[in-house]
Amino acid sequence: MVSVGALMFWQVGVRNFSRELLYPYESACLWFDRTVSVRFRSILSRSNNAAQNLKLKREVALLRISVSDADAREQEILRLRQALDFKPVVKSSWVAASVLSRGGTSAVWQSIRVAKGSRHGVRKGDPVVVPEGIVGRVAEVSAHTSEILLITDPNSRVACELETPTSDTGVVRGILYGGGARPGGDPELTLLYVVDPLRLRYLARDFNPAPHTRVISSGLGHTFPKGLLIGYLLESRLEPNGLSREATIVPAVDMAALEVVFILSTKGGARAQ
């Protein structure tokens, strides 16, 4: 009991304290980079384009999120009308968060830390996206910061499906495994910037998907809303046991270039459908 309590204290208390301890200094560095250095660069270039571009990029990213959210809701309404099975829609909101650091102090795990926490409505398990696609989910939360586990991490699992060309094919679903792990659960030493292709396992053995097929979230894991882009299929092959098919997936999002992410924050304690 004592050892379990000590471990929980370490996991929750000490780690949250350490993140909160660094938060003011990292925020200050981020503020400096965004305001002072951007303005300095614009002075050097004798124009204000740098600051304007940054502002416009953020606005465009927010608008893209709104549009994709609206599209997803429209599709959901159409499905509900067809099925005549109405469910109450849980209200949700997007929380924009700046990326403070990547990989923490060790770079062992594929994770990022963002400058939004429980005080901003972020909860453990909330999905994280950018306009290009899914980034990951919130693994740990403190008052002002959150740790995001990327989908490229070997510990990440996402329930997804393929965007099949015709309705005759039916829905083809699988489980997405993060890169870096080998069959049999024997991970090799990996480099943070090297993204091993993700593995989509347990696909139907009889369906041979075409390369560049879009892989989207299925919504079955109740973590990510349905229909969000994850990546693109490279190739597929039968698994050694012959019972299912495995595919390699390239993520749609460039994890090394993330600057601002969007966290889906739900209200009322339930996930958005």
């Binding site: 403070l100 770079a107 062992v108 795990w109 830390r113």
Partner: protein
């Protein structure tokens, strides 16, 4: 009476090292984290007495573990072992210099990379080009961080008065010392 400001200076240096190590992300050319925390702890292992050196190792290890998502006492254990090695080599490392920082930093970084990956569960084959690139990069990064870290720590010590210069110890005033 002169107050001992070793602990505040150590605390500030470790905090600064934590911010730098956390915010500087890996890249194509440096695919490992720059281990500023361990290098600062290493400096205090070389220059401070037992209790302060041990405290620096524990603080640095705890910060690395908590901010890096590592299992408890992973880096703390490594730094305590590193202190044992440094203590054994004390006769060779009689003072902290930039050169000793480069050499010790390179060795420390390589050892820490291996220790961390094995402790954290990445127990796959130690061979392969990726693994060799990782270890080689960690040695190079450790050498650079070791030199820079020792230089900054030496400067901080002199500015804060934690270490008296040799000239002062000989009771010579600055104007007369060579």
């Amino acid at each position: 009476m002169r107050s001992d400001i070793n602990l505040p200076v150590m605390g500030v240096m470790l905090l600064l090292a934590a911010v730098l190590q956390d915010m500087i992300s890996v890249s194509l050319w440096i695919p490992v984290k720059l281990n500023f925390l361990s290098v600062v702890a290493l400096f205090y292992m070389v220059t401070r007495p037992f209790t302060k050196a041990l405290l620096a190792a524990v603080w640095a290890g705890a910060l690395t573990d908590t901010l890096g998502g590592l299992p408890p006492f992973c880096t703390v254990g490594f730094l305590l072992c590193a202190y044992a090695v440094v203590h054994a080599l004390r006769s060779m490392i009689y003072r902290a210099t930039v050169l000793s920082g480069v050499i010790l930093g390179a060795g420390l970084s390589c050892g820490q990379t291996l220790w961390t990956r094995i402790w954290a569960g990445a127990s796959g084959s130690a061979g392969g080009w990726h693994s060799l690139a990782l270890l080689g990069s960690s040695i190079l990064a450790g050498a650079v961080v070791g030199g820079v870290g020792f230089a900054i720590c030496l400067l901080t010590d002199n500015l804060s008065g934690c270490v008296q210069s040799a000239k002062e110890k000989n009771d010579l005033s600055w104007s007369k010392a060579d």
